[in-house]
């Protein structure tokens, strides 16, 4: 069993926190892991990504070879595009629809969503709405982690110790709120995935699941 995942987003969106959660959960379940990330310059609002690999067998390189990623998990819809050449033909894209606009030439939002809908397997969620509904507007990353879980060999409770370790210093409330965002992201991911699996187009699956948010 191997999982090769590209995490994507913009510096400041907490991509490395997602990586931290997944790394530790995978290690706790006895997987071998390799997780390459970017530090330094790019973190100032630039495109940030991580190659996260876990497997029950030896992992040879830190980078996921082209065409072999099982998932692109992105906190930002435009950022998905950069990593599509790495995606396996049966791979899935799990992306938030909420844009992060810090560049002057940010493309038309509708064009970005249309481009995602062209992909055979795209699971779209509104991470911003989920985070905001839980009064944690910056926790888009946790919502996306939750949305990806239906594809991964973890349970929600696997993340409890690491959410605690990460957010404890901000108080009990931050721990609970992040857990809530993760859980709601997970429920949303499940709801969308069920519809996709039943053959519903990705945009309809998105619309039908996001009415109450």
């Amino acid at each position: 069993m191997k999982y090769d995942i590209i995490l994507a987003g913009v510096g400041g969106q907490g991509i490395l926190t997602i990586a931290y959660m997944l790394d530790n959960a995978a290690l706790a379940r006895g997987y071998r892991i390799r997780q390459a990330e970017v530090h330094g310059m790019a973190q100032r609002g630039g495109a940030v990504y991580s190659h996260l690999r876990f497997s029950d067998r030896e992992i040879v390189s830190d980078l996921i070879p082209r065409g072999q990623a099982d998932m692109i998990l992105s906190v930002e819809p435009l950022e998905v595009q950069r990593y599509l050449p790495l995606l396996h033909r049966d791979g899935v894209v799990v992306s938030s629809v909420h844009p992060f606009k810090n560049i002057p030439d940010y493309p038309d939002e509708k064009a970005i969503l249309d481009a995602l809908l062209e992909l055979p397997r795209a699971l779209l969620v509104d991470a911003k709405a989920i985070a905001t509904a839980n009064k944690m507007p910056r926790a888009e990353n946790m919502a996306m982690l939750g949305a990806a879980l239906p594809f991964l060999p973890f349970e929600l409770a696997d993340f409890d110790p690491f959410i605690k370790a990460q957010f404890e210093r901000k108080g009990e409330h931050a721990v609970l709120a992040n857990q809530a965002v993760l859980a709601q992201g997970f429920r949303m991911g499940m709801a969308v995935k069920e519809r996709l699996d039943a053959g519903m187009p990705a945009d309809a699956a998105y619309r039908e699941t996001h009415t109450s948010l």
């Binding site: 510096g11 990330e37 100032r44 040879v60 390189s61 980078l63 070879p65 435009l78 950069r82």
Partner: protein
């Protein structure tokens, strides 16, 4: 399964050094090496070691030499270009030799993720005639760093551990070994060896030269250098550590050709010779410069056998390796199932944070400079270099740490006025002070901006050694007239007032220093 710790490559090096019984770690921040010292700092109390940022890499390296002189083990770590700054003590430490184990971990940055070049430190190890270990994963980063300290004491030589960005900033589970106690304090009995007067230095250099055959033998027997002569002998593969991973990715069922993988230097010439004798044609794959490839080709090449690599275009000469690039060297295409589906994909370069003090400094600077003939603004390395991008378009040079002030000296000599340069507080402490001393001594007409944001922001908010009043005092101490040292508060509301002060100093036909002072907005969090 043994207990594993989840560590970055950098952290694996740091933890290994702690377990190897270092008494001190010395560094100056620089991506991708920064997290080495940060990790040592995070556990300094527990292990009872000193771990501090030095003013620059030269100071860091010399601190490590001093500790070794006293019999204790020391780690010094830096990014590749940092070793240029520390090249003087580095090369000379090979000649003095060491007492306590001295290990230099240098982190190269192929692909220039966060650097101004992608130089390959293996050349510097060879230049200094010292051994170099090159890990290919985080476990080896740990194991080799431990080994490096023993190797250093056994052969009385500094040892380089060369890592690259991908390893430094990638995490994996690492199995660690029992720690070792620190060395006792024992001042060298061979002080003459450290007094590099020509009469002593000649003796020391002879000793260094004499060590080489023993080091070569060590490398020839090292398990980090691997030779396999199985498989299809039409082709042979020569690669270094990280490249070996990508070659393996290219052949998931196993490498079908004879190969040599190098992870311990001096280069294992015997192994490479054996490989060349065995095969008809050789492909060299290296993360870094074509170091092994150049050695192999020499002046006349390999008689009757084609050598492929970076020098004949089989692989790209520049940039970072990837599995797909390595595969292509063997004619294997790693296909993409998808191309970007969006028509135009804009880049997302890093940018100054909203509210950054540097933005206000450059706005005022540009406003004032608009009143003078267009002249270059010599600048330096740090977050403020990002003001090169629109909308600021503020800086006209960024060459190496400290170059701003020294290049302005050259421009003043060339006859430009006003001459402007800008430098961050940490970069000023690193190597701007000597430039300013030179300018003050010569009383050159220049205006120097020292952007004091109270931290080393670019590399992740480490402590800056010279900020606030201490910075002002240092500037005056170097010989700048106090009435031409002006401290500003770079805020949007002060734009006009700041521009007015800058204009005054630009018009002044002498040396002035303007210090915009406001904390980095990230540091306050």
């Amino acid at each position: 399964m043994k207990k594993q710790e989840l560590l970055l490559g950098d952290e694996a090096v740091a933890l290994a050094a702690l377990h190897a019984g270092i008494s001190g770690a010395y560094s100056y921040p620089g991506t991708p090496a920064t997290e080495i010292l940060e990790y040592v700092q995070s556990r300094a109390k527990e292990f009872n070691v000193t771990a501090s940022w030095s003013a620059n890499e030269k100071v860091a390296y010399e601190g490590a030499i001093g500790m070794s002189y006293c019999g204790k083990r020391a780690l010094t770590s830096m990014k590749h270009v940092g070793l240029n700054v520390a090249a003087d003590p580095f090369v000379n430490s090979g000649i003095t030799g060491v007492d306590g184990g001295l290990v230099l971990c240098v982190a190269d940055d192929p692909g220039m993720h966060s650097s101004q070049n992608e130089q390959d430190s293996r050349y510097l190890a060879r230049f200094a005639l010292i051994p170099c270990l090159e890990p290919l994963n985080q476990q080896e980063a740990y194991d080799m760093t431990r080994e490096a300290f023993d190797l250093s004491e056994r052969f009385k030589t500094p040892v380089m551990v060369r890592i690259v960005t991908r390893l430094a900033h990638s995490r994996a589970g690492v199995v660690t070994m029992e720690g070792r106690a620190q060395n006792a304090l024992r001042i060298t009995e061979d002080a003459a060896g450290y007094i590099l007067l020509p009469s002593n230095a000649r003796i020391q250099y002879d000793k260094l030269a004499a060590k080489q055959s023993a080091l070569e033998e060590y490398a020839a027997k090292s398990p980090h250098n691997r030779i396999c002569l199985d498989g299809d002998r039409k082709l042979g593969i020569l690669c270094n550590a990280m490249a070996f991973n990508y070659v393996r990715e290219a052949f998931p069922a196993g490498i079908p050709h004879p190969y040599v993988k190098v992870g311990c230097y001096p280069t294992p010439m015997g192994m490479i010779r054996k490989l060349v004798e065995t095969v008809d044609e050789i492909v060299v794959v290296e993360e870094g410069y074509p170091f092994l490839e150049e050695l192999l080709r020499g002046v006349v090449g390999v008689a009757g056998k084609a050598v492929h690599g970076k020098l004949d275009g089989r692989l790209p000469r520049t940039g970072e390796l990837t599995p797909a690039i390595a595969a292509r060297a063997f004619g294997i295409a790693m296909e993409s199932a998808f191309a970007p589906t969006l028509e135009k994909l804009p880049g997302r370069p890093p940018a100054l944070c909203p509210g950054c003090p540097h933005a206000d400094s450059y706005r005022a600077l540009k406003l004032a400079a608009g009143d003078f003939p267009k002249v270059p603004i010599f600048s330096d390395i740090g977050c403020y270099t990002l003001s090169f991008y629109p909308p600021y378009n503020a800086v006209d040079s960024c060459v190496d740490m400290g170059a701003s002030i020294a290049m302005a000296i050259g421009a003043a000599h060339a006859g430009i006025h006003p001459v402007m340069c800008s430098i961050g507080d940490s970069t000023f402490g690193h190597s701007g002070m000597t430039g300013l001393l030179t300018a003050a001594y010569e009383k050159l007409p220049m205006t120097v901006f020292i952007l004091d944001n109270g931290t080393v922001a670019m590399t992740g908010k480490q402590d800056t050694l010279l900020t606030g009043d201490a910075l002002v005092n240092a500037v005056i101490g170097l010989g700048v007239e106090p009435e031409h040292v002006r401290v500003l508060s770079p805020l949007p509301k002060n734009l006009e007032e700041n521009a007015r002060i800058i204009r005054e100093e630009l018009a002044y036909k002498g040396l002035s220093v303007i210090i915009p002072k406001r904390d980095c907005v990230q540091a306050k969090r």
